[in-house]
Symmetry: C2
Subunit: 249 residues, 2 copies
């Protein structure tokens, strides 16, 4: 459920916990993407070039402009990737969660900053070592090219959102996309967790946090979504939400 829309399953490597991280059952299902492509012995080899880390909430673990030494795979938690302008304006280019890769959009230096929204567990690879791994396991490179292609598709979708959609359309599009890629783990009846603040949402959608709040209130008022006090959102009317996501007014 959940990933068929993306057209690409996400995959996660965790090597301290013997390849598949100890996540809840719902998430585990989504972590087989990379394992599919590689034999067990390959995965164990990969394990030897990666290090597991825990990033506390609010801590930055990639800084725009820094030399791009590492490449990451998220095991647990959520992080935001963003770019800042000198005067403080910020554009979040994506939220990443379990199974996502971080560091593809980098040449010599990182083109973005990454910061943990809540506690994040991740695997860190050395980029130079990764290069040599590619020659041994071409399947990994193939897979990363697929991942990059998929991220390009998402990026273009986001450009359409930022360049041409109204505030309500942006929020509706986000909620639908987020629900598609959501952790279905701890929630009882399919409420989505929104670990990011309204300000983060604004920085992602090219809006102010006030406008995000107003748009969400508008959706609540029309009984399209329901918001719990634990920052959980429940989509009550997916059809009308979809209508908002693409059509004017």
């Amino acid at each position: 459920m959940s990933d068929h829309r993306n057209g690409l399953r996400r995959s996660s490597i965790n090597l301290s916990d013997a390849i598949i991280p100890g996540l809840c059952a719902g998430c585990e299902a989504r972590h087989i993407g990379l394992c599919d492509a590689l034999a067990d012995e390959d995965l164990h080899f990969l394990a030897s070039v990666a290090k597991s880390h825990t990033v506390p909430k609010g801590r930055m673990f990639v800084a725009e402009g820094d030399k791009a030494r590492h490449f990451f795979n998220i095991n647990r938690g959520t992080a935001k990737l963003f770019k800042d302008l000198p005067d403080g304006r910020r554009q979040i280019t994506g939220f990443v969660g379990a199974g996502d890769f971080v560091g593809l959009a980098a040449a010599d230096h990182y083109a973005f900053t990454a910061e943990a929204i809540n506690e994040v567990r991740l695997c860190r690879f050395d980029r130079t070592e990764l290069r040599s791994v590619f020659t041994t396991f071409p399947a990994l490179e193939r897979r990363l090219l697929d991942v990059a292609s998929h991220e390009l598709i998402l990026a273009q979708e986001q450009m359409l959102l930022l360049g041409r959609k109204s505030a309500i359309e942006r929020l509706a599009s986000f909620l639908l996309g987020w629900s598609d890629r959501a952790e279905i783990c701890p929630n009882g009846a399919q409420a989505l967790a929104l670990p990011m603040t309204r300000a983060d949402l604004g920085d992602y959608l090219g809006l102010t946090f006030e406008t995000v709040s107003r748009a969400l209130s508008a959706l609540k008022r029309q009984n399209i979504v329901e918001v719990g006090k634990d920052h959980g959102v429940r989509i009550l009317d997916r059809d009308r939400l979809s209508a908002f996501a693409t059509s004017r007014s």
Copy 2:
């Protein structure tokens, strides 16, 4: 020169014209990227799986939603890649020129439409054949991963532009970026050709064509750029243009 800012040289394959297309001297220099990575015999093998085509001005050659059978490399001319909303709003996600690849942002189906702005000459590969070429020439796959990474960097930069920059900042950013990747071919004293219309520019920058026109007039009024009647633009004060590109007001 010109491509050091991008951090990645663009490469072009043309097989009807024996690998390097018959372009002017200035452009030829930028077409060696892929050739660097491959031996002559590899290039000749590649030639056997590609077909050269000419796309007339205004003709669409990739349609969003179509099965993604092909992969393209532009030899000459300029095309726009875009996504449309049902009500006609359009977001151009990029302009591509000689040396650029088209079709990376595709899974099973194209996620965008591509249309020639002027007459375009391109090389067409079959995606399935390309896959098998990868196993024979891993250098090609490595290179495509680099290209995809680079496009992700550009996409994130564009998200920052669309989400957070003012009209004048958007135009200034575009002019600087365009001048970096410009064909330095036929122009005498470094005027850039703008083959796209104001409407295209608006669709790329998330603005209306009127706003683009006004912003350009503002830059003219301040003697920062000069616009010829051949749609050529000359940057008179690159420093002040750069200042506009990042700072407010």
